[in-house]
């Protein structure tokens, strides 16, 4: 087994033995899916509000869940940095890429499992509320959500590297709030328009939600799907490169 997989396996075991992982990464998104569906059922049909309808909601919940994967990434990295464990690892033959990929891979797996569980929950909820959701769209979203998962993991890696165990989760909470608000998960940002929409368009979060929702609707239009997916993928690549550089630089600075 190579060093990256070895380190990734260790990180995966660490996460899997933390009860909070199950609460925040799996249970909480499902609870939100159910609660928001109940909210949607209470909204009069005449309001024509579709954001909490299960087909739109599940895409938003997919992205919302990933913000918690970001939180767990930040917590894992900052916890490792706070003790001597990383010092031992830095004296080992591991390279910088082994570390960053070793953090990213297990978190990506958590994000995919999280989405698959949410996807199953969305199918059940759709049956209960008698709405026809396309399972192939939900499956496609599993792939489409990967770049946005990497994007959030990279943000977690950056925050966990730069801040300590106390500060990193707090800052992640800010990103969780910003991401869900500006990502259009809980309200229709596009319809609101104005300055808020302009600001949201400058952030990557809304593109994460748009591409996931378009995949679920099997809408492969340029505006709805291709451009948002391209933006998210580009942002994920850039942020991953930044995360690797920040991790490498900060670790060297801490050790010297």
């Amino acid at each position: 087994m190579n060093k990256t997989l070895c380190f990734a396996k260790r990180n995966l075991i660490e996460i899997s033995r933390d009860a909070l992982s199950y609460i925040f990464c799996i249970a909480f998104p499902i609870v939100m899916l159910v609660v928001m569906t109940l909210v949607n059922e209470s909204i009069p049909k005449e309001a024509n509000m579709t954001i909490f309808r299960i087909d739109s909601l599940s895409g938003g919940i997919g992205v919302f869940g990933q913000t918690f994967v970001m939180l767990f990434t930040a917590m894992a990295v900052s916890r490792d940095r706070s003790g001597s464990f990383l010092i031992r690892m830095f004296a080992s033959p591991m390279k910088s890429s082994n570390f960053t990929n070793g953090y990213i891979l297990p978190m990506l797996l958590v994000a995919v499992v999280q989405w698959l569980v949410s996807f199953a929950a969305a199918v059940v909820v759709a049956k209960v509320v008698d709405y026809d959701v396309k399972p192939q769209g939900l499956l496609l979203a599993t792939v489409v959500l990967i770049p946005s998962a990497i994007l959030f993991i990279a943000i977690g890696l950056i925050l966990g590297t730069l801040f300590n165990q106390n500060a990193a989760p707090g800052l992640c909470s800010v990103i969780i709030s910003l991401g869900s608000f500006m990502g259009g998960i809980w309200f229709d940002v596009e319809s609101s328009g104005g300055v808020l929409y302009k600001i949201c368009k400058c952030m990557p979060f809304i593109y994460c939600t748009k591409s996931a929702r378009a995949a679920i609707h099997l809408d492969f239009g340029t505006e709805a799907f291709l451009i948002p997916l391209l933006v998210v993928t580009s942002a994920a690549v850039v942020l991953t490169i930044i995360a690797a550089a920040v991790f490498n630089t900060k670790m060297k600075a801490d050790l010297s």
Binding site: C6, R10, I13, E14, D18, R88, A91, P93, L255
Partner: protein, 259 residues
């Protein structure tokens, strides 16, 4: 004790004018040190003497400001990969993965050090883990999660993790710090058993530990090695009996010779 006059022994560690400065502060000052293969070399000193900084430079964790250090002829700055393959470190704090079991921790470290070129594979890792579990008598706690272990067991695990990569040089940075007398004695036995297989640099505050384990002892003060040698040589230099008295004598500037 090793024979001091053994001429055919190889130099495992060699430093020449090794220096580390943090701004205006000199943590390690012109360190010239040679440790022979198979020796257990103890670095003694008060807090801030430069022991940990020295170990960090020798294990490629920190870059020297000046001077040179070699591990089996490999430069710690220019040939980091070669050096890292040959060293193991057990830090002051127990550096273990807290949510992994004892066995998982060992398996993890064995995997990190497994040489892909020789493709030892899973069997190699399994054998290594079993051997280390046996050497350190960790069998009874092999399935316990590391964070639930007592301080003594954690230290044992931390040292076991440092040697699972079969290092030629092992750095033990205050390995018995905070342990009770019994746990400390127990760990000494484990360290004693390692002496024939690798070169060990031990930093400690406990004089009796250095007396019991070390072939040679160096006393560091303000980043400098002020004297070094076997216990008998140090006693002769200072005219004192016992390492504690030797140390106090040197620390108070009564004895010792600058290297």
């Amino acid at each position: 004790m090793k024979n001091e006059t053994d001429a055919i022994q190889i130099d495992a560690i060699k430093t020449s004018n090794l220096t580390k400065r943090y701004g205006q502060k000199t943590a390690v000052d012109q360190l010239n040190l040679t440790v022979r293969e198979g020796e257990l070399f103890a670095l003694l000193g008060v807090n801030g003497a430069g022991k940990t900084t020295t170990i960090r430079m020798l294990s490629c964790l920190s870059t020297p400001t000046e001077g040179k250090a070699e591990i089996y002829g490999f430069d710690v700055v220019q040939q980091k990969d070669e050096v890292k393959r040959r060293v193991g470190i057990s830090t002051q704090d127990t550096a273990v993965a807290e949510n992994l079991t004892v066995e998982e921790n060992l398996r993890f470290m064995a995997g990190i050090y497994a040489d892909e070129r020789t493709a030892k594979g899973k069997e190699g890792v399994n054998q290594k883990v079993e051997r280390i579990l046996e050497i350190f008598h960790l069998g009874e706690v092999r399935r316990k999660i590391a964070k639930t272990l007592s301080g003594g067991w954690k230290r044992k695990l931390s040292i076991a993790m440092a040697i699972i990569g079969d290092p030629k040089v092992l750095y033990l940075d205050e390995p018995t710090l905070g342990l009770d007398v019994l746990a400390r004695r127990e760990l000494w036995k484990e360290i004693e058993a390692l002496k024939d297989d690798m070169t060990i640099i031990l930093t400690t505050h406990y004089m009796e530990e250095a007396e019991a384990l070390a072939d040679r002892i160096a006393i560091m003060i303000d980043g400098k090695i002020v004297c070094h040698g076997t216990l008998a040589q140090l006693e002769e230099m200072t005219g004192e009996k016992g390492l504690e008295k030797v140390f106090i004598s040197v620390a108070e500037g009564k004895g010792g010779n600058h290297e």
